[in-house]
Symmetry: C2
């Protein structure tokens, strides 16, 4: 049952008079449940509880934390039907999408649970002493990664499960040994509470300290601001808009004690198409891209927002086919009227540039929140003149950029802001596909995809989901895959410590039987 | 020969009319050489050159970069005599200290050169594809760490060699594949130019691109501000004061495209002494600590600034002996009158707290720049009341804090700001030494030392030199040891890439013969 209350640790609480409801975009009507925004005292209780819980939680063995994560995944499976019902009513997304995202969320939890059993994420390193070294003896030094402290996670509007309450940020932070305070996304507060109840049940069943997880509702930005400013909070994870991510980063940087923020803020994910590929496969590519641009109503951070190629008959054929294909796909519901309105506003802004021409037909969609699919076109020269054409328009649209030659394509790449992904559609032997082009693209992105689509982010160790600003606030980390745990860890060294006072990971006898770096060799 | 000019890549340049001289603190007189501050156009040239050099330098193989680092170390050895002469005249430090620091600097360069040959720092990870996976095929994903771009390094006043021109920040950034623009410290501009000439010669001899290194002189803060704001600069390394480090961090955070700053800003390095240890060894410990507090005239970021123990006869004996020992040590010259004056100002500020008593005798040092050694005392209660007592006083002084019981010691630890180090002096079986105390200390520090002194930072893989703010701006990284290279690297993934377009590190045949993580197993 959804109560509309906040989870302050394991307690449900609703002190504030500020309340709100979620919205069903398919019905274009408010949902019934009333949610209560977290009050100042609830925020303080949750952060203090997290701070106290941290001291216990960081001592909980990796194996026990692993059991906690597995239990969360089990609890989620038990309520998948309830989750699906509320998820669909709060997002306009389909049941299939919900179940896919739930599966992904569960897989993420399980992958961190497995990582914890291995122990390699702690990067244990031991340098044995050399007592008779001249001029000075070498001390015994042992190092491992330790959790950074309570983490605030901002739920993402577009992934109510996989990048929200029990999503990647939460799973990685809990795996690291950091309590999580979830700033629930107001658009799916019900889904958030339901998933939170699963986390709380798992915490209780596996004897985790109270305060290891809290879920706070928010109507506007105030709760988030207070959380980021709390002295108890040691790091922040965020997935969302550039505006939101930058605001959080600015707050965190201005603190008396600044804290790290990993904000994944999306991008326009440029796609480079090379001539030979078009000759053979233009129709197939057009079909594939019409789907990639419109999947999830274009509400993916890896949506292909810019497609770049050379002026040619084949590229014209591709564009024509892409327009045809995308016009044939039925519009699908966006998450919320605010997002639908922002999309339309973004399209309007692009139109203000008279060098951009809209290629898709003007249509009157009678269904509110069901956006039209838009393909626009601009020359590379005019694209580079107007930086605002690089702003992400969150929704099912893409801008075609036509270059005169490879030199101009290189210049377009050089003019790009930081991106999550860059995609190359090419035959291997295409003369236009040079190492210089790949090198220039690599400087701008976190992931280069060959002959595929940027949508769809595989959860595995070799994935990078992040990139140079403004794709993310710290390109040195990934938000997806097991290495995302590194965002919440810091190294601590023990010098000449007695064995009895060392963490188990660092003891001579290696009681946890983990792989360790001993004098530079992994054993 | 020292010219007083800036190195803009391999060219010596002096466009500006702003000039300055370094200072010999032993003679209390200016040195003769005139240095020219970098002009705006020189700053622009150096950053543009670094940006252009980056595109070439990042393609230079790890083996070639390794040769470059080795060559720098060789060039430094060739001019060790000239370095020693100018170093001593600009710092007041001894020849022995200079040679020790030069040795350390050379060892750091060599250790990064060795790391580059191994290849493990790139964290290569390969996930093989699963084409028939349901519901979706798993793509081929390969990841490695790539250099982040040009790095600005601020030379440190207190380590003209090991944490300045060719020091740890520069060595790690060049090892990573990032060009370096050195903001030379005005107190040792001559040493900086001489070391820069060695780097430039090494770059030329090993065919590195022009702009891989530049050295810019500065009289005040303007050059540093302009460098941090340059769009060509992608990260910053700094060692120095909290005020300086925070100013740089704030600038970098306010950029349109924020960049990471690793600022190591020092700390007061608390030392906890437990009763049983004092009973046996108070005299020996006092001698050891008198030396640690005064070594290098106390100008180390790991200087033990706070010594905490319990009220007891043995602790009184320790304090008495410490005061005796430290009074017997002759004052040694500080780096510069500004640092000497700041030290005296810091001591004055402490004195303003009437609860603090100075235990060392008032002496009149006739020698300007030769500071007095000071031991002061305060009760734990009064220490916790005045946060300003935690401010680092850079120089040969330490504050004794007396606790009533273990509860109060725990409270003192909890009240501490972030620290580079925390030291525990104890017998293993001391009943007051609890796991709670160690756990509380661990939350505050980057390194815990048992039965030693915090001064002396071993350069090895298991070292952490960094810590929670304000010890450093990002506790997730170390400034010392081979892992300091991680500050300048970011992950990039290649999805379904043709073999020919992959970096050698990621190719199937593993042409570099490096250890790689293949489907989760290191091979």
């Amino acid at each position: 049952m959804i109560t509309g209350k906040n989870y302050i640790g394991e307690d449900l609480s609703s002190e504030s008079l500020v309340n709100f409801q979620t919205f069903n975009p398919v019905l274009n009507a408010k949902n019934k449940i009333t949610f209560f925004e977290a009050s100042d005292s609830e925020i303080q209780k949750a952060t203090k509880l997290a701070s106290d819980a941290f001291k216990i939680f960081k001592q909980v063995s990796a194996n026990k934390r692993s059991e906690f994560l597995i239990q969360i995944s089990e609890e989620l499976k038990l309520i998948s039907e309830e989750i699906t019902n509320i998820y669909c009513s709060e997002t306009g997304l389909t049941e299939g999408r919900c179940l896919g995202e739930l599966g992904r969320t569960i897989n993420q939890l399980v992958s961190f649970a497995e990582l914890l059993k291995e122990g390699k994420y702690q990067e244990v390193s031991i340098d044995n002493p050399i007592p008779n070294r001249k001029p000075l003896p070498k001390p015994d030094l042992r190092k491992m990664l330790m959790p950074i402290g309570p983490v605030v996670v901002f739920g993402a509007s577009n992934f109510p499960l996989a990048y929200s309450t029990a999503g990647g940020d939460t799973a990685s932070a809990l795996a690291a040994g950091c309590p999580v305070i979830l700033k629930s996304h107001p658009m799916h507060a019900g889904t958030g509470e339901l998933v939170s109840s699963a986390i709380i049940r798992a915490a209780t069943k596996t004897n985790m300290p109270n305060g290891v997880f809290s879920n706070l509702n928010s109507k506007g930005i105030e709760v988030g601001v207070k959380l980021v400013n709390s002295p108890c909070v040691k790091a922040v994870g965020f997935t969302g808009s550039l505006k939101g991510g930058r605001a959080i980063y600015d707050l965190a940087s201005k603190r008396r004690n600044p804290i790290p923020v990993f904000a994944e803020m999306g991008s326009v994910n440029p796609v480079l198409i090379f001539p030979k590929k078009l000759g053979k496969e233009y129709a197939e590519l057009a079909k594939q891209y019409a789907k990639s641009i419109t999947v999830g109503s274009g509400q993916f951070c890896t949506n292909p927002g810019i497609i770049i190629s050379f002026q040619s008959d084949n590229f014209d054929l591709f564009i024509k086919k892409l327009v045809e294909e995308i016009e044939q796909i039925s519009p699908s519901c966006m998450l919320h009227p605010n997002i639908y309105n922002a999309y339309n506003l973004g399209l309007e802004k692009i139109k203000q540039n008279s060098n951009v021409s809209e290629l898709t037909r003007e249509i009157n969609t009678s269904d509110k929140n069901f956006p039209k699919h838009v393909i626009s076109h601009v020359s590379a020269e005019k694209f580079m003149e107007d930086k605002s054409l690089q702003h992400e328009v969150f929704g099912p649209c893409s801008l075609i950029v036509t270059c005169q030659d490879d030199k101009e394509m290189y210049a377009v790449i050089e003019s790009l802001e930081g991106q999550l992904t860059g995609t190359v559609l090419a035959e291997n032997n295409d003369t236009f596909l040079t190492q210089e082009i790949i090198d220039a693209l690599e400087l701008k992105v976190g992931r280069i995809i060959f002959n595929g689509v940027p949508t769809g982010v595989e959860v595995c160790e070799s994935m990078t989901h992040g990139g140079p600003y403004p794709a993310s606030t710290d390109s040195r980390f990934t938000a997806v895959g097991i290495n995302s745990i590194k965002r919440w860890l810091r190294p601590v060294s023990y010098q000449d410590s007695p064995q009895s006072l060392l963490p188990d990971e660092l003891k001579n006898e290696n009681p946890l039987n983990i792989k360790r770096n001993i004098n530079g060799i992994i054993i």
